[in-house]
Amino acid sequence: MDPEELDQINAYFERDAQLREILREENAKLDKKVRSMVGTLSKVHSTPASDFPGIVDVVRRTLSGCNENLLAIVSLIPPNQLWRWKETWAYTIRSIVYIAAFTEFLASGKLISLQEVNDMVGIQETWNDRLEIQVEDYLQGLITLINELSRLAVNSVTLGNYDAPFKISIFVKDLFAGFSLLNLKNDSLRRRFDSIKYDVKKIEEVVYDVSLRQLNNPPAESKAA
């Protein structure tokens, strides 16, 4: 190989390796925040529904603080290199989607949209050649939410909240119907989607247990759902 060309190639890879290192460190900082929010959110399994707003508040404050970390990351990525580096933060971004979607469900019972997640953490449209929540990341985050909601259905009943499973059931079934519309390849999204079938089943069984014993408030509604 021409020595000059060899040097150029070497320099190119060197720069690459350095950027990878720095990105990994920046992502580790963001990830730390994410873990702490996940920890806070996990308290819902042993908290009466009336105390959910407090939990949601705490989490959302940290969530909007993630903006500075994302800013630090996006400023490191060279233009148009989104696809080259996204693996570095993909896993963290998915957790952010999960956190945002969980708080939205707890607050309003509704499904958060991808745009709303962007807004919550301040991801700009103009970053889209460097950092962006991909559809796949959004869907991965929602699957984590479904995994968690099947636990919540069970634990709500333990805490005497017999209506929660019905709300969760409607929410999850809608989402499941949505997922069923997708033509998924045999990839990790597909495998995780297969796993939520068990969550749906578990939630159905909780709703069944409560209905059978007529513990919930207005049985009419659940039948209509």
Partner: protein
């Protein structure tokens, strides 16, 4: 939340997911198309490599004729690159280029083989990029360093085959030594890059094995040549004098 709003929520979810479906289908379709193009490029490149092996030792052809045959075989591949370039504009290159990588690497293997046979040198990155460009010289898409290196790495395997098959032939006697030198330099150059390109470091052991086989071929020629130095007919004579002259020997 009454039944009305429940069904509204469901409609909202389904509408959003219908949108996702379109995006995911588009992504998958495009990947499928690129994977097919990659396979086609691979098949054609492999055929070119086979052709190069056949004509490399064919006395009946001169360098120009060989080059012409190659260019002929390269033509259909250009069409595939053109088709692929539509899918790889701007951001999309980063997103989809991996699907085309196997084809690009096999193509690099083929054109670097052809380049070596014609010029006896390693094709440079710029020269390779020029062969992935429109007739006007506009790149269809950027050639990544790793595709370039991995293609060259596979070239050493083809050179090993060339060295062995031609070491039995008259005109191949010098070739083995040249190839040996060339592959030795490639192996050494790659060595400094293995920490960066994971696949390359895996291929490096294959390359080293190829080098050893080429060294053995060169050794065989040298040791047999040394013995026949004193023989009535020289080692470099064509010993198959009894055969028809036009045979591909």
């Amino acid at each position: 939340m009454g039944p009305a709003s429940a069904s509204a929520a469901r409609e909202g979810v389904l509408a959003a997911f219908n949108d996702f479906r379109v995006q995911i289908d588009d992504y998958n379709d495009r990947r499928e198309r690129l994977i097919k193009i990659s396979r086609d490029i691979t098949i054609h490149s492999k055929r070119l490599i086979f052709l190069l092996h056949r004509i490399a030792n064919d006395d009946a052809l001169d360098a120009q004729q060989r080059a012409a045959e190659c260019r002929q075989k390269l033509k259909p591949i250009r069409a595939f690159f053109e088709a692929a370039s539509d899918e790889l504009r701007g951001q999309d290159f980063g997103r989809y280029s991996q699907s085309l990588s196997p084809g690009v690497q096999e193509y690099i293997e083929a054109i670097s083989f052809s380049h070596y046979l014609e010029h006896g040198t390693l094709i440079t990155h710029a020269q390779a990029q020029a062969l992935i460009s429109t007739p006007a010289g506009e790149p269809w898409f950027p050639l990544t360093h790793s595709d370039y290196l991995l293609g060259i790495s596979d070239l050493t395997g083809e050179l090993m085959r060339l060295a062995i098959t031609s070491s039995g032939l008259r005109q191949g006697r010098h070739k083995a030594a040249e190839v040996c030198d060339f592959v030795r330099r490639c192996t050494a150059d790659f060595e400094s890059l293995t920490p960066y390109v994971n696949e390359l470091s895996k291929k490096q052991s294959v390359t080293t094995e190829s080098l050893k086989k080429i060294e053995l071929a060169a050794y065989g020629i040298a040791i047999r040549g040394s013995e026949y130095h004193d023989f009535p007919r020289s080692f470099d004579d064509d010993p198959g004098h009894g055969r028809p002259a036009d045979e591909a020997y």
